[in-house]
């Protein structure tokens, strides 16, 4: 399994998580399954909406993009594409920053934690780590093929 395959798998898992939370925000699911923390307190807080859309929906968009880029990166013509690696890295980096902001809000403003958000944060961090490794690898390939 390549790093991009792992990224695609993690993105797909994240995508389902985002869809689950989005369904909650739109009232499709009555209550959230939440064994640890206060998911509903976080999900119903004023910070759970960003630019008019639920944060979870932005998450869905992020994971869809990441999934698309990762699968595109598995195609032979993009395997060594440094530009695509850089795109994945920038997207994952943006995801890390946004997630850090959300975790700050949970810990210091809302004073409640949501296990689903923490799960998503772990996935974003993993994606970022894989994106760094992938980018370094393509950079190395580029050097060797010069």
């Amino acid at each position: 399994m390549t790093k991009r395959m792992w990224m695609a798998l993690i993105s797909l898992a994240g995508l389902f998580l985002g869809v689950y939370l989005t369904m909650y925000k739109f009232g499709v699911i009555g209550t959230l399954a939440c064994n640890v923390g206060s998911c509903e307190q976080v999900q119903t807080s004023r910070w759970s909406v960003f630019l008019g859309l639920p944060v979870a929906t932005w998450g869905v968009g992020f994971y869809v993009l990441m999934l698309g880029l990762s699968i595109a990166g598995m195609q032979p013509r993009f395997l060594d594409s440094r530009r695509l690696s850089l795109g994945i890295l920038v997207l994952a980096g943006w995801g890390v920053l946004f997630t850090a902001w959300l975790n700050y809000l949970e810990g210091f403003v809302i004073h409640a934690w949501c296990e689903w958000c923490l799960g998503s944060a772990a996935m974003v961090l993993l994606l970022f780590a894989l994106a760094i490794m992938d980018w370094r690898e393509t950079r190395e390939i580029e050097r060797e093929t010069r």
Partner: protein
């Protein structure tokens, strides 16, 4: 390092894209895993969306706890066969969700038809810095017969006066209340002097005595649920309580003429404290 990349097809010169046997196996494994995740994810989401229509797990009410007598604010017929009690916190987001999403249907379909009587009792949680101010303001509005209007306005505007929005909640609460009550001056004085503090304290003490742990806590007949509920689940518990009571709204001779006016927060509140 270079060998590893060649195994998966990377590092080849442009145009040389034929995958090795190992890469092909790897791809197959990947597509199998991705299909498994997709199937698992869709199944989980389907289950989650149908679970919301399943029966809710409610715990039985401990009958040794102090009974609710006349505390709180009541909407609906005094002869309704089932009383529902909500221990609520005005700054709690779940309570806000319940008030804005579920309560309109409850008022229209259950309170308005004389099936239930709805009682709201303040249970301000320590974690919410402005919730006591909101409870006091609602009690001030109640002095002018406008509790439910204030109740709805507080929940609908939580983000204007909650702890994340302001450190001077009374100012915003006065603005909200002034649009609702007939006598603004009396309301403002009531808010400023914390005239209703003792009443809220009594409500909170009752909640503590009944071991209320979180909000909203809903007591429906002899069952208790410590979470917000969508209307369907709420109705299931009401139906169960109605069945146990052995009464129907008609048999109970519900004062439906009075309760029929309560939909959309038109009902008056009755108070004892």
């Amino acid at each position: 390092m270079a060998n590893k990349r060649v195994e998966t097809g990377r590092g080849r010169k442009p145009g040389v894209v034929k995958a090795s046997k190992k890469a092909s196996t790897s791809n197959r494994a990947f597509y199998l895993i991705i299909a498994a995740i997709a199937i698992g994810g869709i199944a989980a989401l389907t289950y989650a969306s149908t679970r919301s229509n399943a029966a809710v797990n409610a715990s039985p009410v401990d009958t040794t706890l102090p009974a609710v007598k006349s505390e709180g604010y009541v909407m609906g017929s005094p002869t309704a066969p089932v009383e529902v009690i909500e221990f609520g916190d005005f700054e709690c987001p779940q309570c806000g969700r319940f008030a804005t999403l579920t309560e309109p249907d409850i008022r229209k379909n259950l309170v308005g038809t004389g099936m239930i009587r709805f009682r709201y009792i303040d249970f301000p949680l320590q974690i919410h810095p402005n919730t006591w101010n909101a409870s006091r303001a609602a009690a001030c509005a109640d002095q002018q017969g406008k509790f439910w209007e204030m109740h709805d306005a507080l929940y609908a505007n939580q983000d204007r006066w909650d702890g994340a929005a302001t450190r001077n909640p009374d100012k915003v609460l006065r603005q909200i209340g002034d649009q609702i009550v007939p006598d603004k001056s009396k309301f403002d004085t009531c808010v400023d002097t914390k005239a209703t503090q003792a009443k809220i304290q009594a409500h909170w003490s009752l909640g503590m005595a009944r071991h209320v742990e979180g909000t909203p806590t809903l007591v429906i007949g002899d069952k208790q649920v410590a979470q917000s509920l969508p209307y369907d689940q709420f109705k299931q518990l009401v139906d169960s309580a109605l069945a146990k009571s052995g009464k129907t709204p008609a048999a109970a001779g519900g004062d439906t003429a009075q309760s029929a006016t309560v939909g959309g927060a038109k009902g008056g509140s009755k108070k004892a404290r």
